[in-house]
């Protein structure tokens, strides 16, 4: 109920804002809605949303699995940490735009370049978070698994992974929001489809209803994924805690 109320407040202030600023700058909700419906009818909306989602899924999976593996290694092996640290700092502070532009220059305006660029932007934050997680692993439980001679895979699954899961969840959460932001830039600069591309076109034509229609549909998709996928997953991971954190 409070969620609905705050959503209604947002809608109301949008409408009032559009009355004050004028239709040309900020179209009222019905205008955007009709643009959205028109795009949906033609199928374009779903096509572009789908393309963007596919890129997000690929880049996210790539960056998470690679980042988790590298982060774990750096947290456990001192030499790996020493070797990887300068690269990590470089990547962490490299602006997303630089990575995207260079990827397009070196690999051409291709799908591989776009996905790699997005993944490279997300990678270092996943590495940093998982490295902290690997450093914080409980030595007492490690000794327990050694004494009881737990096989490697079992130890990983039942002892290590549960300890890393809050870190994985944190990396996934912050990484997902980063990917949502970067994917549109990558599409704007070098892909012929996707929400970012459509927003670029709408910007050039100054078609604000269409611009807002795509932005909002994208926001709705993000919200749905967060509430239907990410949050239930987090709740399941922490069900053993006496009180939810």
């Amino acid at each position: 109920m409070p969620r609905l109320l705050s959503f209604a407040a947002l809608l109301a202030s949008w409408w009032i804002g559009s009355l004050l600023a004028g239709d040309a700058k900020l179209p009222p909700p019905p205008a955007v809605l009709s643009a959205m419906i028109a795009e949906a009818r033609s199928g374009d909306l779903f096509f572009h949303l789908g393309m963007t989602l596919a890129r997000v899924a690929l880049a996210f999976t790539l960056a998470m699995s690679l980042g988790a593996a590298i982060g774990y290694l750096m947290g456990r092996v001192r030499l790996a940490d020493r070797l990887g640290d300068p690269w990590l700092i470089l990547l962490l502070n490299l602006p997303a735009l630089v990575v995207i532009v260079l990827a397009y220059i070196w690999a051409g305006l291709t799908e591989v370049a776009a996905i790699a660029a997005i993944a490279i932007n997300k990678l270092p934050t996943a590495v940093v978070t998982l490295r902290e997680g690997a450093r914080a692993l409980d030595a007492a439980l490690d000794e327990m698994s050694t004494v009881f001679a737990l096989p490697r895979w079992k130890k990983f699954r039942h002892v290590i992974l549960p300890q890393l899961s809050p870190y994985i969840a944190a990396a996934a959460r912050s990484g997902l929001s980063l990917v949502w932001k970067i994917v549109l830039v990558a599409e704007l600069l070098g892909r012929p489809n996707g929400v970012g591309f459509e927003i670029g076109v709408a910007f050039q034509l100054f078609d604000i209803p269409r611009l807002l229609a795509y932005s909002l549909s994208f926001a709705v998709v993000v919200l749905l994924i967060e509430t239907l996928l990410v949050q239930p997953f987090e709740a399941r991971l922490s069900r053993w805690r006496p009180r939810a954190a």
Binding site: A140, M144, T146, V147, F148, L150, H158, V159, W240, P242
Partner: protein, 242 residues
């Protein structure tokens, strides 16, 4: 099957870079079916010794020969359970081949039957200890190591748990090594007692108790305790107070 221990030295280096000796020289041996007890004051290096025996700390001088391919059951001083797995999952994880009837009997003896599906965070320390005991016994160990399993429990609970441990020990022939600072627990549970000096630990004396655990009368136990206290420092009153 025999456990032989001859540790001639173990030093620790603290954060400030100073080294100090924890173990000066401890020698003992145990055969299958025997319950050995290391008795010594708190901080004399008993837990360090157990870590060496379990193979967790290779950095020491001397020699430890464990039976080959021995299954080890270890009850740590803190229970060291996996908080994200239920009581039963914690036990089954280390003992995947344990059959249901045996596990049920084990849970029954340790009064854990009602807690199988609880998470460790929901248990009291006494219950968590018992889960740790169940886990160590469930692997059907050849070498069972118990590190102060009765510490920081109230007297009544410690007494009950001690009896439960005695029942479990009698059910299975294995090498058992128990560490305690409590002479009473040592005399009630052990067959052979190894008395250790304060840090750095040295062998002070060895005692054999011939009577089986369940046949030891209160008078006999009191006599053995008096003997131990005399051997440790010749001053029974001092140790009796601790």
């Amino acid at each position: 099957m025999r456990l032989e221990v001859d540790i001639t030295g173990k030093t620790f280096r603290n954060a400030a870079g100073e080294t100090h000796d924890v173990i000066a020289g401890v020698t003992f041996a145990l055969d299958a079916g025997e319950v050995g007890v290391l008795v010594g004051p708190s901080g004399c290096g008993k837990s360090t010794m157990l870590r060496i025996l379990a193979g967790l700390d290779p950095d020491f001088h001397g020699r430890v020969s464990r039976p080959a391919n021995a299954r080890v059951g270890f009850v740590f001083q803190e229970p060291r359970l996996l908080p994200w797995r239920s009581v039963e999952e914690n036990v089954r994880l280390v003992a995947p081949r344990a059959d249901a009837a045996k596990l049920a009997a084990l849970f029954e003896v340790l009064e854990l039957s009602a807690h199988r599906n609880h998470f460790p965070g929901e248990l009291s320390l006494g219950l968590a200890r018992r889960v740790a005991l169940a886990r160590a016994f469930a692997v059907e160990p050849d070498l069972l190591i118990l590190d102060e399993p009765l510490a920081s429990l109230d007297a009544a609970l410690a007494g009950r748990l001690r009896d439960q441990i005695a029942v479990l020990m009698d059910n299975r022939s294995m090498i058992t090594l128990l560490v305690t600072h409590d002479v009473d627990d040592a005399v009630r549970l052990g067959d052979r007692l190894f008395l250790l000096s304060p840090r750095p630990a040295r062998n002070l004396a060895e005692l054999r108790i011939a009577a089986p655990r369940n046949k030891r009368g209160d008078a006999e136990i009191a006599a053995i305790k008096l003997d131990i206290m005399r051997r440790i420092n010749g001053d029974a009153a001092k140790l009796g107070a601790s």
